[in-house]
Amino acid sequence: MSADQTITAVAAPALPRRRFRLPLAGIIGAGVVGFWVVIAIIGPYIVPHDVGALVDDDLFGRMRWALPLGSDYLGRDVLSRIIIGARYSIGVAAAATFLAVFMGGTLGMLAAVSRGAVDMALSRFFDALISIPSKMSALVVIAALGSSIPVLVGTVAVIYTPGAFRIWRALAVNVNALDFVEVARARGEGTGYLIREEILPNIAGPVLTDFGLRFVFAMLLLSGLSFLGLGVQPPNADWGSLVRENINGLADGALAVVMPAVAIASVTIGVNLVIDNLPGRWSSTGEH
């Protein structure tokens, strides 16, 4: 089965069921990601300054008690802008990933269980889609439709659907080939039951891992677009936009450029730490 090279482990049998314990690195990763998710949710209630307010007379002002991360190129509070930026950076990426995984996952399992012509048609279609580099697809759609949050969510979701389809299909094909699915099929069970009861519970682990990886890709793509000025548009700003608007502070090493970039890195590395430290049977290696 050459199409299934992406799979490293599926539903390892005969292992006693035990709760797994996440190693320290994984706990740190989970902590960082959890922290940012909380910030994204409660952001508006805890910001020290209004995101648009000019609070500093200096541009790229230095850090001090009132402005813990200094000020940006217009003299706005960097900390407040990062806190609010979390909503866009994490929210848009999460929404797009969720959509992509929902569409790709459902179709992937359907293809695996139906086999034959349905599988063939879906696989060919997504193979062709995946052969357009993700940044190119994004640029084409944004060139045509302009950039708004719904367009970004939709575009990134469509971009990552073929990848999700591939992984889910490959995982489901592996489980589908196992004898207990054959037994259920010989019993006369329908497609819905096979997907719901026999396949889904046994690919849940790797599939969650895949969700995490895809979220990282989506976040990197979105922040890259924002950095190019083609992502989240002013007056809203995600972390990528913050780096872009403050790029002139680069020569001075201003925190206004560095901190948003560090925030992105902390989330993506955090997710990776969690994924790398999951037990083997959860793993699935995604493609870039």
Partner: protein, 607 residues
Amino acid sequence: MAPLVKVENLRVTARDERGRLSVIVKDVSFEVQPGEVVALIGESGSGKTTIALSLMGYARSGARIAGGKITFDGRDVLSLSKRELSSLRGRNITYVPQSAAASFNPARPLLKQVIESSQIHKMMPQAEAKTEAVALFRELVLPDPEHVGERYPHQVSGGQLQRLLAAMALVTDPKLIIFDEPTTALDVTTQIEVLRVFKKAIKERGTTAVYVSHDLAVVAQMADRIIVLRDGIIREVDATGRILSEPKNDYTKSLIAAAEPHTRATAPGAIQTKAAPPVLEVKSVVAGYGATDRDGVPVLPVLRDVGLSIKAGTTLGVIGESGCGKSTLARVIAGLLPAARGEVLLDGAPLPRRASQRTRDQLRRIQILFQMADTAVNPSRTVGRILGRPLEFYHGLGGDQCRRRVAELLDMVRLPAMMAERYPGELSGGQKQRVNLARALAAKPSLILCDEITSALDTVVGAAILDLLAELQREVGVAYLFISHDLSTVKAVCDEVMILYAGQMMEHGSRRALGQRPLHPYSDLLISSVPELRQGWLDGISENVLKEASVGVARPGRGEACSFFERCAVRVPGRCDVEPTPLRSLTKGAKIRCQRTEEELIDLSAR
């Protein structure tokens, strides 16, 4: 004389994937005298391969030699440096692994790999090593010894690869050869020729050998002395003859009991039901993979014109080697692989070819059990839910009724009722196979298709499952189609036996008829190839039977000519490979598919 190998209090530990440490070899001590063949015998997890590898100072990843002392030829193996170990391996101690196909580097020609150790250790110039290797190929009865070395591993058959591995081990003329289950991956008719060649090579050279195996009958042919292992502990050590005739340890006794054939089939009952109509009939089924041509024959035919019938409450055994189509037969009957031609009748009524077109009651009456107990149960559902589903699906049971019935089913397969709350991951292989059996019984079927259900289990566990099958047949009167590659298992449980070769039925008759001559030439080869649990069996086999056995390969062709032609010792060229093979009824009551008449076969086997 000083022993060649002396192992004292060997202790090997291993870490599993969760990082937990366990001791897999516990305080093992033994000696191997020069010129002696010592067998390490045990089931999976007994530590036999681990011990054998540690003689070379080698532990697989995750394992560690934690203590003890190994002396080889006066040298302390465990205190050698890496460089010294390398100079020992492949030169003084060589290794013949189980899987020949995986042990050859696919990217290099065979000869290069066979002579590699002699080149690593700079023992002889390359040209000399090549001559040496060709001589070995000839000795090991490899076809075309001059040129076989130029081929690549995937171009050579499994039996030949195994012999090439032996050549690789012999080329440096080592002091000790370790054979690690060298014939386990082979079919029984291929195994016998390889065993004979190995034995001859060992005897002629007087080589010292350690022979690792799980198969007592094979070991009985090869070893002078047997070490019985279980859970990393030595249970018994004795000369081969004494182990076989008067085992002292209980575990050894159970091993021997499980290996000895004893009949469980419902012989008397079966005769009474003889008049009863068959529960299942299969008529001239053709099945395979790929698109079908105009005659309805698939591109890759697996079953060619196979027919059978099973009477209610009896067992039909289907036996054949890997690739003969026996599992495909089960899948065709279950409707998982629709037949291209022919029909399947249940109680005289034809069944739709696809499972999805069959009625729920038709589906209920035929249940299927698979070889891999591990993969046949959904690992994320409890046993109770696994057994409850067919009850709900076929019988509409729910709630308390369902729970009570689950407990009854568990009791029928001799599992405690509290198993219902467990997940499959917490069960052993044998327990999982019992759960599978219970799930099949939950449907109240009239026929259960058993596809190699004991092959993946250890002998003792498998024997218990066979006992259970026989008991259940007496209790509920279910019929079995029992598929296996193992003749003794089939003989033990079946009333009737069908022998399949490359998709063709070769012989079909009662169990008793299988013990009477004349036999179909393939049946003859198959029966005489099964190792018997007595010393000297291997040396006593007639050359005639084996003459062609290991040379040809099975190829399911498209025509109706005999597929055994290439390997048959009594073939008639120009007839067997051209004309359709007729089905003949023998006076012993069996049917065979052969060009030779009964008289001819009697004559030929007398010679």
